[in-house]
């Protein structure tokens, strides 16, 4: 509707018309669109309800008609955004030096190339190799490498803390720990080349893990005995979900140090390692209190 009628009514008043404007014909009512209103339905299954208490996975979320409830969808989108942000984040070039690490770099040149070419992320570039040879201690027991991996956010948040606790835990076991290095654009297998160059008995890489829903800040640790280029994943032991809501860094450091010591003692790693003989080997393998889902979207009353 335009403003013309109101405009003319004002003009009539100005011209001194005594009688009021005839009322406009009332507008016809707008019929409501045909719609069914669905009430949210909680998950009925007891199994799903129980399972939902023990995982951060999206189970037992109920439904509204044939859809998810709005708060579930918003939660999903918020968590996915956290994951996207973590993958897109890039480790600043000066971060490693600022935190006391020797900065290294893989053969990857750009972040996009890093995502598309895992093979380039597994080898050091020329300048890094020279720097590693010149500055790193050789013949150490454990070489710890902090790296960005697929979540620079996780590396920046809990990388230094996990490194410090792991170093202390190793030294307490009488292991000699190598020079602190931090690799940018790194994949897991980069530990093979670094460990081989410094002649370490065990190489440990602590790197941001592939983000899942709501866990953009998780670190993973991969250990390999006798690192050299060409080792496979069968030669590695790993630990994932190292973050405040998963395994806390302090607890993880103890277990990682125990694993490293056991590798040196048994002279092997990966499938060959007898975990039953790892002292405190059940740490993190027994009962663990259920993780609680961190709500990024607050739910209103329904």
């Amino acid at each position: 509707m335009s403003t013309t009628r109101a405009m003319i009514a004002a003009l009539r008043d100005r011209l001194g018309a005594g009688d009021p404007m005839p009322p406009r014909e009332p507008l016809p009512p707008v019929p409501a669109p045909p719609a069914r209103v669905y009430a949210p339905r909680r998950e009925q299954s007891r199994f799903a309800r129980e399972a939902a208490r023990h995982t951060t996975a999206l189970v037992g979320i109920g439904h509204v008609g044939t859809r998810y409830a709005t708060d579930v969808v918003l939660q999903f989108q918020a968590e996915l955004a956290v994951a996207h942000h973590a993958v897109a984040a890039e480790l600043p070039d000066d971060w490693a030096a600022a935190h006391g690490f020797v900065p290294l770099r893989s053969r990857v040149s750009t972040h996009r190339e890093f995502l598309l070419r895992p093979d380039l992320g597994r080898r050091l570039d020329g300048p890094s190799l020279e720097r590693l040879r010149a500055e790193a201690d050789r013949g150490v027991d454990v070489q710890i490498i902090v790296a960005d991996g697929l979540s620079a956010v996780a590396c920046q948040q809990s990388g230094p803390a996990l490194y410090a606790t792991l170093r202390v835990a190793c030294e307490r076991r009488g292991l000699r720990v190598g020079t602190a290095v931090c690799a940018k654009f790194a994949r897991v297998w980069l530990e093979d080349e670094i460990g081989q160059e410094v002649g370490a008995k065990v190489a440990v890489i602590l790197l941001g893990e592939r983000p899942g829903l709501g866990t953009g800040d998780g670190l993973s640790a991969y250990l390999v005995h006798g690192p050299r280029v060409g080792k496979t994943d069968g030669d590695r032991n790993m630990m994932s979900n190292i973050h405040a809501r998963g395994t806390p860094p302090e607890q993880a450091a103890e277990r990682l140090a125990a694993l490293a010591a056991a590798m040196i003692e048994q002279g092997t790693s990966g499938v060959g390692l007898d975990l039953a003989r790892v002292p405190g080997g059940d740490a993190g393998r027994g009962y663990r209190a259920p993780q609680v889902r961190q709500r990024l979207v607050e739910k209103g009353d329904r």
Binding site: S2, T3, T4, L11, R12, L15, M21, P22, L27
Partner: protein
């Protein structure tokens, strides 16, 4: 009663759900895009031009044909002729239905001539379109969504009115059609000097209506 709204009468409304391609082409529609037609006759041509534009804002319709008849509705060729035939075209009948609903709503509640002398001897159409649809936007050469004052009155009244309107606010003339036209009225389309200046269009239309009322009261 001064400046009483003279509500237009819709004289006929008919649909052709699947029109013959030759007919579509003759009335300016594109047989490749259009199949259905909606036809309206009305006793106020300018109100229907505005209402046809309103329809394009509410449904996926195009105004393919809209022409005023000679000498106006007082000298119509038949009881249903009025002074204009407007034709909406669309790909399917439901769009025509939605367009016609919006069009009739606009004619019943919005666009109309006003009585400028209290005896319906002189009438004036000082309509302000808040946001142009794609029909009048194309006709005026303005962007869709711009405001526009659509001003119509008999020849001499209109001429004084246009002058008053152009001097009353920061507006420019998009198009002035001096008499004689088919219905022997004169018409002007004004828009703000600044894009989107609805207040300027309203001030101009008010000044236009006031000038026409003044001429009707004092013709000499």
């Amino acid at each position: 009663m001064l400046l009483e709204p003279i509500v237009p009468t819709v004289l006929s409304v008919r649909r052709i759900p699947n029109a013959d391609p030759a007919l579509l082409a003759a009335y300016g529609a594109d047989p490749a895009r259009h199949a259905s037609l909606g036809l309206v006759t009305c006793d106020q041509d300018d109100a229907l031009y505005v209402a046809l534009d309103e329809a394009t804002k509410h449904a996926a319709v195009d105004v393919v044909f809209a022409r005023s008849f000679y000498a106006g509705s007082a000298h119509a060729s038949g009881a249903l002729s009025g002074e204009i035939l407007g034709v909406l075209a669309a790909a399917e009948p439901q769009a025509i239905e939605d367009g016609l609903t919006a069009l009739q709503r606009c004619l019943a509640h919005d666009a109309c001539f006003y009585d400028a002398d209290g005896k319906r001897g002189v009438t004036v159409f000082p309509h302000v379109i808040g946001s142009l649809g794609h029909y009048l936007a194309r006709e005026a050469g303005l962007p869709v969504g711009e405001p526009m004052a659509y001003l119509v009155a008999p020849p001499l009244e209109a001429t004084l009115g246009f002058d008053a309107a152009l001097k009353a606010a920061a507006v420019r003339a998009v198009k002035i059609t001096p008499p004689p036209t088919e219905t022997n009225f004169a018409c002007a389309w004004l828009t703000g000097l600044e894009p989107g200046d609805l207040a300027a269009c309203e001030a101009a239309a008010t000044a236009f209506a006031a000038a026409v009322v003044d001429v009707a009261a004092r013709p000499r």
